[in-house]
């Protein structure tokens, strides 16, 4: 079969934790990045917020680096002269923008034992918020299926592909799960379940503004601690909302709110500079604000 490689739906949080690559042998054999949950990825489909992009190359030989964030983290996208279509598209999109990207996996290993992953786009296009939300939902379902498959394989005496296929898991996933099991020994399923829960909450207005706390760690704690945590989380949310509101209010020109003004403003609410940095980092991670230029903050 020389069938087309499927475009996996994975969250940045899972994709970026990948530390296993399977290199295709032979000229046209595809290579795969195997995620901790057994996604065997040659191609991905992502929809997220393009938060920034810059051309590290020249006009003639462009090399665009871009960040696309989802509710769990950031995808690193790089596109050069050999991806003319994606490169041209990327150069025309002004961040922030919702984008859909179909691309191939890339890996970078600066030294033995470390591996970083990025995405080399085949196609990039601007989409709307609804399509991003749809992608988040689909990716939640896809992630849950992988968590299930890992669970099923772990229960087997000798995890194997055919057995997983018989249980109804897609062949490529079954293959990836078996490979993943023997490579990742420190996989924390709770972390991924937490990602899914947080991402689902991200989609629901009744949870908007709630801090997406460290679910997996919370689970391990006692009831009282959880209660304390929840109070703390609630307080943090309030502060995040305050910071968000401040940034919106101070963004008079549309080019972003000045950092210094924000610092002064939130001080009145009892938030010091260090805390403000933490809050803005958290908001950036969630894809709710970004830094259009140094020293400015803007809502997405």
């Amino acid at each position: 079969m020389i069938a087309r490689e499927v475009a996996w739906r994975v969250f940045a949080g899972e994709y970026n934790s990948s530390r296993l690559e399977i290199k295709g042998e032979g000229e046209r054999a595809p290579s795969y990045v195997v995620s901790p949950l057994g996604a065997m990825i040659n191609r991905v489909f992502i929809v997220g917020v393009l938060t920034d992009r810059e051309n590290l190359g020249t006009e003639e030989e462009p090399l665009w680096r871009a960040r696309v964030s989802d509710p769990t983290g950031t995808f690193y996208v790089s596109s050069g002269q050999y991806q003319p279509e994606a490169t041209a598209a990327l150069s025309k999109i002004d961040p922030p923008a919702f984008v859909a990207v179909v691309g191939k996996t890339r890996t970078y290993s600066p030294e033995e034992g470390t591996m970083y992953v990025s995405v080399r786009p085949e196609k990039v296009t601007v989409v709307d918020a609804r399509m991003r939300d749809h992608w988040v939902l689909e990716t939640c379902k896809s992630t849950l299926k992988r968590i299930d498959a890992i669970g099923a394989a772990t229960e087997m005496e000798a995890p194997n592909l055919e057995e997983l296929v018989r249980l109804g898991y897609p062949r490529a996933l079954a293959d990836g799960v078996v490979r993943s099991l023997s490579h990742y020994t420190d996989r924390d399923l709770g972390r991924y379940r937490g990602m899914v829960v947080d991402s689902l909450k991200f989609l629901l207005p009744e949870y908007q503004g709630e801090a997406e706390g460290e679910m997996p760690e919370r689970l391990a704690e006692s009831a009282e601690e959880i209660e304390d945590d929840e109070k703390e989380a609630k307080a943090e949310e309030d502060k995040e909302e305050k910071v968000l509101a401040t940034i919106t209010a101070l963004d008079r020109s549309g080019k972003g709110a000045s950092w210094d003004e924000v610092v002064d403003e939130v001080k009145k609410a009892g938030i010091d500079k260090t805390e403000l940095e933490e809050i803005t980092n958290s908001l950036m991670d969630k894809g709710m604000i970004y830094e259009p230029v140094l020293g400015k903050m803007k809502r997405i």
Binding site: I2, R4, R9, V102, V136
Partner: protein, 441 residues
């Protein structure tokens, strides 16, 4: 009985007799008992041993084993099993045809395929428990197979003497298969379907003319084309139960076949009889990859690519083939007729297919019209302009398509009969999924 087959038995008798008797005499005696008096092999052996002064109890008896413990090279083994399926086949050996039986047997440790090399001597019936003695095993297609040869005997046992694990016990044969599970190469299929249409065709075969009854059938999981190679008197809307059907792909789509050896019975399945099976159910793309195609299915996914050859194309007026640079592959230089089509890759995250859409569907879906596309292409001097519009309209969108799915070495393809862009309802589903997750924690 062939000399080679008899040789090990003669050697065994010789051993029991302490090698004190000339093997020629044993041969002669055995041939007399077997060929002249036609007693069974076991009786012959015991008689010959007794006659020549030995102890018949010293003859090897098969060792009782469970299926799971069998190696692929058992010489003589006894098993107590339940017969899950029986099929009859005619084979030719040294110019003679004979009937053999094959199928599946099971005990509490597992299942195993078997072949009984003489249909007359071995009475195997589906659902019965039998004690098979002196069988042997061989490796066949990478797994062990139980063989009932000339030395083997078979005894009926009480039906409950074999207890099968939950789900495996199937006195009525293998478990019922669903249409959505049918795939190339399946044999001895038991399935319940509703006949949606019947057509008669006359075929010339090497054995003379034959009438084939074919058409569409369905259950609640999907539709399938069938061919009945025997007149079972099928009528539209019949709900039938078939034992012993098989699946072969025809033009890239798995098709259900059943001949005169299949058991076909009308059956009561009110749910199926009353169901509206005209509309296909939504199926996943990895399932399509698994079965290798199906008729009239509904799938959905994201459009992740609009392939080359989409948009405004030109076709040969004589053969309808694509005209490239004014040339048809068959008819050389022709005046190409303009047409619109889309070849979109629809991907649901676990599988992908190429959906091919004709002019009508393209126009409705994308809102471009052929005459406009032609005009715009001429004005812009760019034949790719329609393709770009299609890509803008469809790329990254959720699409639902209906049609026949076929497969070849390039993967899955669908000739689309209906297509629509989905507007996903995210919140309700996210909310339901979240409650489900929170409930399970």
């Amino acid at each position: 009985m062939e000399k080679e087959e008899l040789a090990p038995h003669v050697a065994e008798i010789s051993r029991v007799l302490g090698n004190k008797v000339d093997e020629k005499d044993i041969w002669k005696e055995m041939e007399t008992y077997l060929n002249l008096y036609r007693v069974s092999l076991e009786t012959a052996k015991r008689s010959v041993v007794r006659k020549l002064g030995g102890d018949p109890n010293a003859l090897t008896k098969g060792v009782r084993k469970q299926l799971n413990d069998l190696t692929p090279a058992e010489q003589s083994v006894d098993v107590l099993v339940k017969v899950l399926s029986v099929n009859r086949k005619e084979i030719e050996t040294s110019g003679e045809t004979r009937q053999i039986l094959y199928g599946i047997v099971a005990d509490e440790t597992g299942t195993m395929p078997y072949t009984a090399w003489d249909a007359e001597r071995f009475q195997m019936n589906r659902g019965e428990a039998v004690l098979i003695r002196n069988a042997y095993t061989k490796e066949w297609n990478g797994s062990s197979q139980l063989n009932l040869g000339t030395r083997a005997t078979i005894e009926q046992e009480e039906p409950d003497s074999v207890r099968l694990p939950e789900g495996m016990d199937a006195p009525s044969g293998p478990s019922i298969c669903k249409v959505a599970e049918l795939q190339e190469g399946m044999n001895n299929v038991h399935i319940v379907i509703k006949v949606l249409s019947v057509e008669q065709r006359k075929l010339e075969t090497p054995n003379g003319p034959k009438t084939v009854f074919s058409g569409m059938a369905a259950d609640e999981t999907g539709k399938v084309q069938y061919s009945a190679w025997h007149d079972f008197g099928l009528k539209k809307d019949d709900v039938i139960s078939i034992h012993g059907a098989y699946v072969k792909s025809w033009r890239g789509i798995p098709q259900l076949n059943f001949g005169e050896r299949a058991e076909v019975a009308r059956t009561k399945a009110p749910a199926l009889a009353e169901a509206d099976l005209a509309k296909p159910k939504l199926r996943s793309l990895d399932e399509m990859e698994r079965v290798g195609g199906a008729v009239d299915v509904l799938v959905s996914g994201i459009v992740v690519d609009i392939k080359k050859g989409s948009g405004l194309i030109f076709r040969c007026p004589q053969c309808n083939r694509l005209v490239q640079k004014g040339l048809c592959r068959l008819h050389a230089k022709v005046e190409g007729q303009p047409d619109l089509r889309i070849k979109a890759v629809v991907d649901d995250g676990f599988g992908a297919l190429t959906a091919v859409m004709n002019r009508d569907i393209t126009e409705a879906l994308v809102g471009v019209r052929l005459d406009e596309a032609l005009k715009e292409a001429k004005e812009a001097m760019n034949p790719e302009i329609a393709r770009e519009q299609i890509e803008q309209r469809l790329f990254a969108k959720a699409l639902e398509v209906r049609g026949n799915v076929t497969s070849d070495e390039y993967g899955l393809m669908m000739i689309v009969t209906e297509a629509r862009i989905l507007v996903p309802e995210v919140r309700a589903e996210a909310s339901a999924l979240l409650s489900e997750l929170e409930a399970s924690q």
